[in-house]
């Protein structure tokens, strides 16, 4: 009898929840939500926060070698923004009932994922341009849509984050534009970065719609508002003319403008590579996790000291 009442109650609440989303209202931390919705949001937000934090590493690799004081300042500010985004999204995710420390443990144990793009190495200075322009450019396309998602704390975080990402995107493109106006060696550097980052950037939108699991629920809950393929197409359409404007070649022989569809057609993405990197077999998967684990382990005594000090002075 009781069981039946609880079930009926859940059905009613889920109907209300669905109606709220259908009406374009946001879900807030204290609102009732289906457990699957909560888990899904927590997974997305913690992955996103981890991506911001792991994403500091490939760019941090060039920070001490930035070629001018201005570039060093811009790059440092950009990476600092990413740390801030991480902190902000972790806080947002905590509203779903999981501590930051628990999320970080899941990252360090390898249980939680982060964006696979950061499992590629940064091999020359132009990679700082390519990351800002292509990787952050792809992130903006994703996040602009997420800013309208149904979970209030996540949507609001995205509005603010997108503003900063736009600055990241511009500084990246500007690095590339300056290199393309520079010496032959600089132009080669830029093209090399383009060749290495183009395809992984397209993979950032996830598997093709036909192979994308649980998209149905996510779309209905307005956690996901557009399909992977649509977002990927939007990114390509806006990025190709930018590449052409500064003389960079897109490393895709099949790329061509289709005047009927008013979209670019493009070649086959190497999904085998994508799946491999996701499974942990990318060029830097081991390195990135080691870097995060080392930083965490080496910081352990500092966190313990801060906690011990706080405890002593809370009693006093």
């Amino acid at each position: 009898m009781n069981q039946q009442i609880i079930q009926e109650d859940d059905i009613r609440r889920e109907e209300e929840f669905n109606a709220r989303i259908a009406a374009g209202k946001t879900i807030e931390p204290k609102d009732w939500m289906p457990e699957r919705y909560r888990r899904q949001l927590l997974r997305m937000m913690s992955q996103h926060a981890h991506s911001e934090v792991v994403g500091m590493l490939p760019e941090g690799n060039w920070l001490t070698r930035a070629p001018s004081l201005m570039r060093k300042a811009v790059l440092l500010a950009k990476i600092q923004d990413e740390a801030g985004h991480g902190l902000y999204i972790y806080s947002g995710a905590e509203t779903l009932g999981t501590d930051r420390s628990e999320m970080i443990d899941q990252l360090l144990s390898g249980k939680a994922k982060y964006s696979s793009i950061f499992n590629y190495p940064t091999l020359n200075w132009a990679d700082m341009g390519a990351i800002g322009w292509l990787v952050d450019g792809a992130a903006i396309v994703n996040q602009t849509v997420l800013a309208k998602c149904s979970y209030g704390p996540y949507a609001r975080a995205m509005v603010r984050i997108c503003k900063e990402e736009n600055f990241h995107n511009k500084q990246g493109y500007q690095i590339m534009a300056v290199l393309m106006r520079g010496t032959k060696a600089q132009q080669e550097m830029a093209q090399d970065a383009m060749n290495r980052w183009w395809w992984p950037s397209l993979m950032m939108f996830g598997p093709p719609d036909k192979d994308s699991p649980n998209s149905g629920d996510l779309m209905r809950w307005k956690v996901k508002l557009q399909s992977n393929d649509d977002l990927r197409q939007r990114f390509i359409d806006r990025t190709v003319p930018q590449a052409e404007a500064i003389g960079l070649r897109i490393p895709d022989d099949k790329l061509k403008w289709n005047p009927q569809t008013r979209h670019y057609e493009f070649g086959e993405i190497n999904w085998e590579e994508f799946n491999n990197v996701i499974r942990g077999n990318g060029p830097c998967n081991k390195l990135r996790l080691k870097q995060r684990r080392d930083a965490h382990a080496e910081g352990n005594w500092v966190r313990e000291a801060a906690a011990a000090y706080a405890a002593k002075h809370a009693r006093a």
């Binding site: 934090v53 070698r65 300042a73 440092l76 600092q80 740390a83 000291a305 000090y309 002593k312």
Partner: protein
């Protein structure tokens, strides 16, 4: 040496010290003990790059040979760098980083405070901006010294070791030469020897709260960073920092 030459040298010394310490903070980026400290250290690194750029740009203008801030920062060798040796010391661990930040920061805070009264408007303007930044760098590092000194047994040992090892670079924070003397006479620079006592008080106060023992006087004291005499660490730092400018001398970035 005329006043203009002296002021050029003075500004480059301030900028060198700021840029080298900034480089050390950059090394922490992405590797901090907690995310909040990663952000804080990036912030201090950014402040210091800003200070360096301001003083290099002014030095370049005083020199008037068409060189830029980057020409000065990226195209001199270690014997031509004039930073205080304290700031080139490696990060080693978070305790070293915070002790270095505090010992240097307190001296820089006092120096900039005096330079806000400089008869040179550019120097006083740059000092006013830098003073605000150094005020919170000192607050940040001193709070950590106290937390670490009064934290766990391990943190207490680490922070004391850092103080013991870095103490040999403290006298140098107040070292002056004929450049300072000329600019003091002209009302542009300040007398660092007169700030030493106040610095000692700041240090004593924080050490006392932290339970840190101040090293006894009489140990080795490093000298001469301002004359290009450095520790072995600076050359490595510069070879990394200057790599692209040196490898592609004809490139603009």
């Amino acid at each position: 040496m005329n006043t203009n030459d002296a002021l050029y040298t003075y500004c480059v010394r301030l900028a060198d010290t700021a840029v080298i310490l900034s480089q050390r903070f950059c090394e922490w980026c992405g590797h901090g003990p907690i995310l909040e400290e990663d952000i804080a250290m990036s912030n201090m690194g950014l402040d210091l790059i800003g200070q360096a750029r301001g003083f290099y740009a002014y030095a370049a203008a005083l020199e008037n040979k068409g060189r830029s801030e980057d020409d000065i920062a990226f195209h001199r060798n270690e014997r031509e760098f004039t930073n205080r040796c304290m700031v080139e010391q490696p990060n080693y661990d978070f305790a070293y980083t915070m002790v270095r930040s505090f010992l240097h920061g307190a001296a820089a805070y006092l120096q900039y405070r005096e330079l806000t009264k400089s008869g040179d408007e550019t120097v006083s303007g740059l000092a006013a901006k830098s003073l605000k930044e150094m005020t919170y760098h000192v607050r940040h590092s001193s709070e950590w010294l106290i937390r670490l000194g009064d934290g766990t047994d391990e943190s207490k040992v680490r922070v004391q070791n850092a103080v013991d090892d870095l103490w040999q670079f403290t006298d140098e924070l107040f070292e002056m030469d004929e450049v300072d003397q000329m600019l003091i006479r002209n009302g542009i620079a300040c007398d660092l020897t007169q700030l030493r006592q106040e610095w000692d008080q700041m240090v004593d106060e924080v050490f006392s709260k932290a339970g840190i023992t101040k090293p006894a006087p009489g140990g080795f004291q490093s000298k001469g960073g301002m004359k290009g005499m450095h520790s072995e660490h600076l050359g490595h730092l510069l070879s990394e920092m200057q790599f692209l400018q040196r490898a592609y001398p004809d490139a603009k970035w």
